[in-house]
C-alpha cells in the first residue's frame, strides 16, 4: 500500500507540472505577437508582389519600389532586414522615412503606423498610385487600401478594393482572397 500511495503522489506531481506548462504557453500566446513588426515588414514587402502599379508610377524600368514609413517607425530596422537585397519583378526595393504626405508622391507603398491621423493622411494620397497601408482600425473603411489587423494572434489584413482602383492599382486576386474585403460606408 505504501508503495502504491507513493507512486500515486508522484503522478499527481507530474500532472501538475504539465498543467503549469500549458498555462504558461497559453499566457504567452495572449501576449502581443512576438515579432509583430517583423511579420508586418515581410507583409509590406510581399504586398509589392501582388499589386500592380500603373506604368507612369516609375521613372524607369529599373526604378526601385519605394516603401515609405510615414511618421513614427515601429519596425526598428526590421523592414530593412527583411528586404535586404531582394527585388520584386526585377526592381530593387528601397525603404524611406517620410515626415509629410507631400513627400509620399514618389513612394509606391506608404505605411502609416497606428494613429488617429492615419486615415486622414491616407485620404490625401487617395488619387496617387500609392498603396496605403495602415494598422489602425477603420483605416480601410476610411479610404485606406490595406489595413493590418490582429486575429487570433495572427497578423491579417483588410483590403479596400475601391480605394485601390481609385489609386489606379490592381490588386491580385490571390491577395484579395487572403484579405478581408472592406467596403466604404460613404458610397
Amino acid at each position: 500500500v505504501a508503495i502504491l500511495s507513493r507512486s500515486r503522489g508522484r503522478r499527481l506531481g507530474l500532472a501538475t507540472l504539465l498543467l503549469a506548462l500549458a498555462f504558461t504557453k497559453a499566457f504567452a500566446s495572449d501576449a502581443p505577437v512576438v515579432g509583430e513588426y517583423q511579420v508586418k515588414a515581410a507583409f509590406l514587402f510581399n504586398f509589392a508582389k501582388f499589386v500592380t502599379w500603373p506604368s507612369g508610377a516609375f521613372e524607369g524600368p529599373e526604378s526601385p519600389i519605394e516603401i515609405c514609413v510615414a511618421g513614427r517607425d515601429p519596425f526598428g530596422g526590421a523592414l530593412e532586414d527583411t528586404i535586404g537585397e531582394r527585388t520584386v519583378r526585377g526592381r530593387p526595393v528601397a525603404v524611406r522615412q517620410i515626415d509629410a504626405a507631400e513627400q509620399a508622391s514618389d513612394c509606391e507603398i506608404v505605411f502609416f503606423a497606428d494613429s488617429e491621423r492615419a486615415p486622414v493622411l491616407a485620404r490625401r494620397l487617395e488619387r496617387a498610385p500609392v498603396l496605403t497601408v495602415g494598422e489602425t482600425a477603420g483605416f480601410a473603411e476610411a479610404g485606406g487600401i490595406v489595413n493590418f489587423k490582429i486575429e487570433e494572434n495572427r497578423v491579417r489584413f483588410e483590403i479596400n478594393p475601391d480605394a485601390a482602383s481609385r489609386a489606379g492599382l490592381r490588386v491580385s486576386s490571390q491577395l484579395l482572397n487572403l484579405a478581408t474585403v472592406v467596403r466604404e460606408e460613404r458610397k
Binding site: N46, K49, F50, R86, T87, R89, S172, Q174, L178
Partner: protein, 676 residues
C-alpha cells in the same frame, strides 16, 4: 498419362500445337508490349498532370504562403481532391516544415531534405502504387515553399487488368481461328503425308513394290510423293532384276553342279577304265614276259642240244643229218623272232619300251644288213643290190635295235614275197635334209584294198584258207612302231603283180654330222636278231663224257646256278668238255658250293629266276657284299630277255649278261674271257 516427347507427336498434333504456341506467343508479346507502352505513357501522362497541378498550386498559393495563410493555401489544395487519382497534397514552407495539407493520408511534418536538389524545380517519383511529385514554389527568384502531390497508380493496375482480359479474349478467338485454319491446313499437308506413310508401311510389311502413293500437288509433299514413287519403281525394277539374276545364277550353278557331277562320273569311269586297262596291260605284259621266259627256256635247251648233236655228228664225219639239224635251228629261230615281236609290240603299246638312241653310220649299217640277207636271196635266185645315192651316206641317231629290226623285216618280206627278179636297196637324201632307205622288190605286190590294214598287227593278206606265206603278221606293225618312236615314217608304193617299194624316211632332226668311229662297247644284250658269228668250236669239243673224267680236276671250275633241271643238264653238256661243272638248284645250294673248301669256282653262270626265297639278282647282290666273292666273275644267263632285265642284272653286280637261248660258242667265249 505418359508424356511423349514432342518428336513422337503426330504430325497434326505438332502442327496444331505449333500454331497455338505461335499465336499465344505473338499475343503475349503484343500484350506485354502494349502494357509496357501503356505503362510508360500512363506514367508520363500522370507525371504531366501532376506537374500541371503542382504548378497551378504553386502559383496560386504564393500569396497564401507569403502571407502565412494556411487556410487559404488549404482551400487551394482542396481543388485537387476532385481528381480520381488524388491521394494527398501538402505545402511546406521554405524550411521544409509542413504548412498545410489535404488528403486521406497523413503526410510527414517535414519535407525530406533531399526531396529537391539545389536548382531542381520538380521531382517525380513512382512508388509501388503511388506517384509523388514535389515542386518548388518560387516567388521573384526566391524559394518560398514546396508543394507535394501524391497520386494513386491504381488506375494503371485497372488498365492492366483490362488489357490482360482483352488479350485473353483475343487469344481465345485467335486460338480457335488458328485451330480451324490448321485443321484446314492439315487436310492439305498431313493427309498426303499420312497416305504416303501408309503406302510406305504397306511396302515394308507386305514387300509389295508395285503399290504407288496417290498423286500429290506440286509442293514439297508432292515432290516427296513423286520421289517416293520413283524410288519404289527403281526398287521394284532392281528387285525383279535381282530375282532374275538369282534364278539365273541358281540355274547356272545347278548346271555347273550337274556338269561337275557328270565330269566326276566320267572321270571315275575313265579312271576305272584306265585302271582296268592298266591292269589288263600289266597282266598282258606279265603274261607275255612269262610266256617269253617259258618259251625261251625250252628253246634254249632245244638249240643247245641241237648244237651238241651237230657237233657230235661232225666229230664222226656224218653230215647227212645236217639239213635236219639246220631245220630245227631255223624253226627255233623263227619261234624266237615271233616271241621277240610279240614282246616288243606289247611293250610299245603299254609304253614300256625304252629306246636308246645312239649315233649310227647309215651306209655301213645298211650294207651289213643287206649282206646278211645275200645268202637267203641267192637261195631263191634273186638279185640283191645296194646303192648309196648322193648324200645318202649320212649319220643318224637311232636305236640300233629298232632300225636294224625295221630294215631286216623289210628285207625279209621282200625276199619272202618275191619269186623272181630282184631286190634293190637304196640309201638317199630327202629334200628336207632327212634320209631315206628304200627297199624295192619285183614281187607279188599288195592289193590296194589291203593297204590300209598293212600295218595292223597280226594281219596278213590272205587268199581263202590257204596261207601262202609263213609269218605272224607282226613284222610291219612292229616296224612302223619302231620307226614312229624316232619320228620316222614308212611309206609304201605297190602294184599288184609288179612289186612293192617300202621307203623309210628319217627326219632331219635325227640326222647328225659325224659319228665317232666304231663304238667301243660291244652290245652284249644279244636281243637283236643278228647274233654274232659263232666262233669255231675247239676241235676236241664233243658231246658226252662222264662227269668222273679224271681230267676234270685240271679244268677250271664253273658253277651253274639254275633251277631248271633240263637246262642244267644241257649246260653241263655244253661246258663239260672244257670245264668242271658244278650245279646248284637254288641260292642256298649255290652258297654251299661256293663255300666248299676244296673247290675254287672260277665263273658263276647265274640264272636270275630261282625257286625259293632268293632269286639270282638277290643272290648276286649278297655275294658282292662278301669279301670272298667280290671279284668272282658272275655271268647272268637268263630267259628274262628284256633290256631292263639286262640293266638289272648288271646293276646287281653281274659282270656279263647272256639271254637265253644261248649259243654254245658265245657261252664258251664269254667264260673263256673270264678264265683266261
Amino acid at each position: 498419362v505418359t508424356l511423349h516427347r514432342f518428336g513422337d507427336w503426330s504430325l497434326s498434333a505438332k502442327l496444331t500445337s505449333l500454331s497455338a504456341v505461335t499465336t499465344a506467343t505473338a499475343l503475349l508479346l503484343a500484350c506485354v508490349a502494349f502494357v509496357a507502352a501503356d505503362r510508360v505513357s500512363f506514367r508520363q501522362a500522370l507525371g504531366r498532370k501532376l506537374s500541371t497541378s503542382a504548378q497551378i498550386v504553386a502559383s496560386n498559393s504564393t500569396a497564401a504562403i507569403l502571407f502565412e495563410d494556411a487556410a487559404g493555401a488549404q482551400s487551394i489544395l482542396r481543388a485537387l481532391e476532385a481528381e480520381p487519382s488524388f491521394v494527398s497534397a501538402a505545402i511546406y514552407d521554405r524550411g521544409g516544415r509542413i504548412f498545410t495539407r489535404v488528403g486521406e493520408r497523413e503526410v510527414p511534418g517535414t519535407l525530406p531534405k533531399h526531396a529537391l536538389e539545389v536548382g531542381q524545380d520538380e521531382d517525380l517519383e513512382f512508388g509501388l502504387d503511388r506517384a509523388f511529385l514535389v515542386r518548388r514554389i518560387v516567388s521573384d527568384g526566391e524559394t518560398i515553399g514546396f508543394v507535394q502531390l501524391e497520386a494513386r497508380l491504381g488506375e494503371l493496375a485497372d488498365r492492366l487488368v483490362g488489357y490482360v482480359s482483352l488479350a485473353l479474349a483475343v487469344f481465345g478467338v485467335a486460338l480457335i481461328a488458328a485451330l480451324g485454319m490448321s485443321r484446314g491446313l492439315l487436310r492439305t499437308i498431313t493427309r498426303p503425308l499420312l497416305d504416303l506413310a501408309g503406302v510406305a508401311r504397306r511396302v515394308s510389311t507386305e514387300k509389295d513394290y508395285s503399290v504407288r502413293a496417290g498423286p500429290g500437288g506440286s509442293d514439297e509433299t508432292g515432290l516427296l510423293i513423286l520421289s517416293f514413287n520413283q524410288m519404289l519403281a527403281q526398287i521394284e525394277q532392281r528387285e525383279s532384276a535381282l530375282t532374275n539374276e538369282i534364278a539365273e545364277r541358281e540355274r547356272a550353278q545347278a548346271d555347273l553342279a550337274a556338269a561337275r557331277d557328270a565330269a566326276e562320273q566320267a572321270r571315275a569311269k575313265e579312271e576305272l577304265a584306265r585302271r582296268a586297262a592298266e591292269q589288263a596291260s600289266q597282266l598282258k605284259s606279265a603274261f607275255l614276259a612269262n610266256m617269253s621266259h617259258e618259251i625261251r627256256t625250252p628253246l634254249n635247251v632245244i638249240l643247245g642240244y641241237n648244237a651238241l648233236i651237230q657237233a657230235a655228228l661232225e666229230d664222226i664225219g656224218d653230215e647227212s643229218q645236217n639239213p635236219l639239224i639246220e631245220g630245227v635251228a631255223r624253226a627255233s629261230k623263227r619261234l624266237m623272232t615271233t616271241v621277240h615281236g610279240i614282246l616288243d609290240i606289247s611293250r610299245i603299246e603299254s609304253g614300256a619300251f625304252d629306246v636308246h638312241p645312239a649315233p649310227i653310220r647309215l651306209a655301213p649299217f645298211v650294207s651289213r644288213l643287206v649282206e646278211d640277207h645275200r645268202v637267203l636271196a641267192k637261195s631263191k635266185g634273186l638279185e640283191l643290190d645296194f646303192e648309196v645315192e648322193g648324200g645318202g651316206a649320212a649319220n643318224v641317231v637311232f636305236d640300233e635295235y629298232c632300225l636294224s629290226h625295221a630294215i631286216t623285216n623289210l628285207l625279209d618280206n621282200a625276199i619272202k614275197f618275191t619269186e623272181k627278179g630282184g631286190i634293190r636297196v637304196t640309201l638317199g637324201r630327202d629334200a628336207d635334209e632327212g634320209v631315206h632307205v628304200c627297199i624295192a622288190d619285183t614281187g607279188i605286190g599288195i592289193d590296194g584294198d589291203y593297204l590300209p590294214k598293212l600295218y595292223q598287227a597280226f594281219s596278213q593278206e590272205q587268199i581263202g584258207y590257204t596261207r601262202k606265206f609263213e609269218g605272224s603278221g607282226l613284222g610291219l606293225a612292229l616296224t612302223k612302231r619302231f620307226l614312229e618312236l624316232h619320228d620316222a615314217t614308212i611309206e609304201v608304193r605297190s602294184e599288184k603283180g609288179k612289186g612293192s617299194a617300202f621307203t623309210i624316211h628319217i627326219p632331219p632332226d635325227w640326222v647328225v654330222a659325224a659319228v665317232p668311229e666304231s663304238p667301243a662297247v660291244a652290245d652284249e644284250s644279244g636281243t637283236s636278231p643278228d647274233m654274232p658269228a659263232a666262233r669255231p668250236l675247239p676241235s676236241d669239243a664233243r658231246i658226252g663224257g662222264a662227269d668222273g673224267d679224271p681230267g676234270d680236276w685240271a679244268k677250271p671250275c664253273v658253277l651253274v646256278v639254275e633251277d631248271d633241271l633240263e637246262t642244267q643238264t644241257m649246260m653241263r653238256a655244253m661246258l663239260r668238255e672244257r670245264y668242271r661243272v658244278l650245279t646248284a638248284d637254288d641260292a642256298k645250294e649255290a652258297r654251299r658250293m661256293l663255300a666248299f673248301p676244296g673247290e675254287k669256282v672260277r665263273v658263276v653262270l647265274m640264272d636270275l629266276s630261282l625257286r625259293g626265297d632268293e632269286d639270282g639278282l638277290t643272290l648276286t647282290k649278297a655275294l658282292r657284299t662278301d669279301e670272298r666273292w667280290r671279284t668272282l666273275p658272275i655271268v647272268a644267263v637268263t630267259a628274262h630277255a628284256l633290256s631292263e632285265d639286262r640293266d638289272n642284272a648288271l646293276a646287281a653286280g653281274c659282270d656279263a649278261y647272256l639271254p637265253k637261248p644261248v649259243e654254245r660258242a658265245r657261252l664258251l667265249s664269254v667264260i673263256q674271257g673270264f678264265t683266261a
